[in-house]
Amino acid sequence: MSDEIRAASYDALVIGGGIAGGEAALDLANNGYKVLLVEKDLSIGGKMILLSKVFPTLDCAACITTPKVSEISRHPGITVFTGAEVTSIEKKGEREFETAVTKRPRYVVEEDCTACQLCEEVCPVVVHDEYQYRLVGRKAAFIPFSIASPRVAAIDIENCTLCGACEKACPPKCIDFTQETEKYIIKTGTVIVATGFKLFDPLKIPRYGYGVYKNVLTSMEMERQLAPTRPFNTILRPGDGKMPDRIAYVLCTGSRDDTIGNPVCSQICCMYSLKQAQLLMGALPMADVTIYYINIRSFGKGFEEFYEQAKGMGISFVKGKVGKITETETGNLILRYEDINENRVMEEEHDMVVLAVGVLPNTDPLSFFRNGELKADQFSFVDQAEVLSSPARTSVKGVFVAGTASGPMDIPDSILSAGAASSEAISYLKQ
C-alpha cells in the first residue's frame, strides 16, 4: 500500500494553510478553481489561530480565523490535506506543475471521528502540548486544540505506547493503527507558496537565560496565556505558578542583530508587545509592565495611536536593549541594561520576562524545486522577482508567494499579499 502513488489534479496548489494560504485558497475557489491546500500541521489556521488578539484593533484573533477556517474546510472547491508535506515540485511546462506530496498517517479515520475526546480521556501518555507552546501537557491520543480544523483526533505515534486503550474506548471505532504514509503526485496549473515564517529560538542568546530560568518566556508562550483558549485561564509564571506583578518585555530578541545572523527588523514585535502589554494590564490590573526597546516602530495605520494608548494606560517604556538577565533565589529576574536617556547602566528586578522573539525565514520552500529554481532573497525568504510591480511573483513563472514566506509582515499585510498572489495566479491560469 505504501508503494502506491496516487494521482490527482487540481487547478491550483496552495502550500501552507495559515492565514495567507487559507485566504489565497478561498479567493481561488470562490472564482471557480479547484484548489488543493497542503498543510504540514494537524490543523489549518497557522500561527494566527493560536493568537490572543490582533493589533491595533484588539479584535479576537480566533474570532476572525475560525469562520475563515470553517469556510475553507467546507468549501466544495477546496481539498485540504493536513499532516502533509510537499517533497518536490517539477515544472513540466506553462500551467503544468507536478508536485509530490507525502501525507502522514493520522491513525484516525477523519470522516468517522466525532471529536468526542474519549480517546484523550483514556490515553495514559502525557507529553508537552506544542499547540499551547509547552505550557501544559496533552495526551498521545489528542485533538490538537479546541478550535482546530479539522476537529479530529490524532495519534502521536512517536509517544504512543500502543496500549490500545483509545481503540477500545472510541465509540465509532475510527482509530486505525494500520494507516500508512500516502504518496501523491498532484498535477496543477499554478502553485502558491504560503509557508509562513519561523520564530526565533532564544536559546541562541544564552545571556537571556531562556530555557534555564523558568520565568523567562517567549512572546508566543505569553500569547497562549492571553488567548481565549488559554491553558491557565489567568496569567501565571511557569516557575512557581505565581501571578506576576512586574513583567518585562525584551524587544528585538533575535531581530536587528548581526550576532545571530538576522540583521533586519521583524516588523511585528513592537506592536504585538504593545498589544500583549495592554492585555496584561487588563488581565492583571495591579501589575507593572515595562517594555525595553531600541526604537518603537509603530509605522502602520492606527499603530502610533496604539502606542500612545499603551503609554496612556501606564505601561513603562525604557529605551535600552537588555544586555543580560540573571535569576534570583525567588525566581525573579534581574535585567541589566543601559538606560539610553540617562546614559547609565541599570539593573531592574522583574518577576516575569517576555522575550519578543523575531521572525525568521522558513527555508522549506527553497528545496521544493530540485535545481533551486525557486530563488531566495539575501535573508533566505522567498525572493520576490518584481517586488514593486508584481509582488507575488517568484523566480519561477506560475509560482506565487503569499504572506510571510516572502518576508516579515503583519496579519493585514499577509492577507493583502494572499489577495495579490491569488489574483496573479488567476491571471496566469487564464493566459
Binding site: R207, C252, R256, D257, D258, T259, P263, I294, N295, G320, K321, V322, G323, K324, R336, Y337, E338, D339, I340, N343, R344, V345, M346
Partner: protein
C-alpha cells in the same frame, strides 16, 4: 552646546577605529560590560561621542582607561560596530593628546614615520659603535649608561609633563573640585593598579589573561631593575645572574604567547592589531630574548666573537627606550594607572 564634528571620526580611524557609525544606540555593549557601573557607564557613551566628534568630552574622560578590553561588547554588538576596538583606539588617541611633543600622534597615524624612526635609531647605534671601533667593553659600558640616562630623560622630559597634561585635561579643566587631601588618600590606589592591574580581574574573560599580564609587568620591571641597578651583564653575583635569566625568560615567554594570540586571533582582544600593538609585543620578545642571549653568551665566553648579538640587543633597547616607551603603547602602563588614581581621587568626593 557641542557641535557635530564628522572629521573627528575620520581621524580616529587612523588610530584603529572601525565601524562605530553603525551604532544604533541599543546599549548592549554597556549592559554586557562587567566593568560598567551606574556611575561610570561605557562604552556606548564613548561610541556616541566619537560618532558626533565631541572631542572635548572624550579628552576630559577617564572612561577609555577604565576599560580593560575583554571584548564582550564587541562579541555581543548587534550592529558589529566593534565598541571594544573603539575604546582601544580612543586610548591611542588620548595617548597622543596627552603627549606634548605631538610625536605619539604622528607615530600612531603614520606608519612610515615609525619605520623611519626605527631605522634612524638602528643607524645611530651602528654609527656610535663604529666610532668606538667596535670595542665591546666600551660599547657595553655606554649601553649601560644609555639605559640610565634614557630612563631619567624620558621621565623628566616626556612622562612628567604628559602626566601633568593628563591631570589638566581630566581633572582641572572640567572643574572637578577635590580637596588636596584626596590625592594622598588615593595614592595607594595608584601603586596597586600600576603593579597589579587588579581591575582587569573583574573582566568577563578568564583570569589567565590577567595573570599573564601581571607576570609580564612584574617580569619587565624586574628585568629593568636587574639590568640598570644591579648591572646584570657585568655582575658576578650568582643571585643576580639567575634572577636576570629568570625575569628575561618571563618577559619573552609571556610575550611570545601574546604574539601568537594576535596571530591566531581567537580571542576578541587579539583579533584586531594596530601596528603599534605588533611593535609593542614583538619588541618585548626581542628585548627579553636578546638580553637572555647576551648574558648566556657572556657566561659561555662567546660574546667577544659575537659582537653582533650585543649590537642587536642595544639596537632593540634604543628603539624601545626612545620610541616605543615614550611615544608608543608602553605609555598605557602609566596613563592607565594614573587614570585609576584620578578616578579614585574623584570618587572619594562622594
Amino acid at each position: 552646546m557641542a557641535s557635530i564634528n564628522t572629521e573627528y571620526g575620520r581621524d580616529l580611524r587612523k588610530y584603529g577605529g572601525f565601524d562605530f557609525n553603525a551604532c544604533y544606540n541599543c546599549g548592549t555593549c554597556t549592559a554586557v560590560c562587567s566593568l560598567s557601573t551606574e556611575e561610570d557607564s561605557f562604552p556606548r557613551e564613548m561610541v556616541r561621542f566619537s560618532v558626533l566628534g565631541m572631542e572635548d568630552d572624550i579628552k576630559s574622560s577617564l572612561k577609555p582607561w577604565l576599560c580593560y578590553y575583554c571584548g564582550e561588547c564587541t562579541t555581543h554588538c548587534p550592529q558589529t560596530a566593534n565598541p571594544g576596538e573603539l575604546m582601544m583606539s580612543l586610548r591611542r588617541w588620548l595617548t597622543s593628546v596627552y603627549d606634548w611633543t605631538g610625536l605619539s600622534g604622528l607615530l600612531y597615524r603614520f606608519l612610515p614615520a615609525t619605520v623611519t624612526a626605527m631605522i634612524l635609531a638602528a643607524a645611530a647605534v651602528i654609527a656610535f659603535s663604529a666610532s668606538r671601533d667596535f670595542n665591546l667593553p666600551e660599547i657595553m659600558k655606554a649601553g649601560h649608561y644609555f639605559e640610565m640616562i634614557a630612563i631619567g630623560t624620558v621621565l623628566a622630559v616626556i612622562f612628567i609633563p604628559n602626566l601633568i597634561r593628563m591631570w589638566w585635561f581630566t581633572m582641572l579643566k572640567p572643574g572637578i573640585k577635590v580637596p588636596a587631601a584626596n590625592y594622598f588618600k588615593a595614592a595607594a590606589d595608584l601603586f596597586i593598579h600600576m603593579f597589579t592591574q587588579k581591575r582587569a580581574r573583574d573582566c568577563e574573560d578568564n583570569n589567565f589573561r590577567w595573570l599573564e599580564h601581571f607576570l609580564l609587568v612584574i617580569g619587565y620591571l624586574a628585568l629593568l631593575f636587574t639590568t640598570v641597578v644591579l648591572d646584570w651583564f657585568s655582575s658576578s653575583s650568582l643571585f643576580v645572574i639567575i634572577l636576570g635569566y629568570l625575569v628575561s625568560a618571563i618577559v619573552f615567554i609571556v610575550t611570545i604567547d601574546f604574539v601568537s594570540g594576535r596571530i591566531r586571533k581567537k580571542k576578541e582582544v587579539s583579533r584586531f592589531s594596530h601596528a603599534s600593538d605588533w611593535m609593542f609585543v614583538v619588541w618585548l620578545v626581542l628585548m627579553g630574548l636578546s638580553a637572555f642571549a647576551v648574558r648566556l653568551f657572556i657566561d659561555l665566553g662567546w660574546l667577544e666573537n659575537n659582537l653582533w648579538l650585543y649590537l642587536l640587543h642595544l639596537t632593540v633597547l634604543v628603539q624601545w627606550a626612545l620610541i616605543i616607551v615614550p611615544f608608543g603603547k608602553w605609555t598605557h602602563f602609566l596613563y592607565r594607572s594614573f587614570a585609576m588614581y584620578f578616578h579614585s581621587v574623584k570618587s572619594q568626593v562622594k
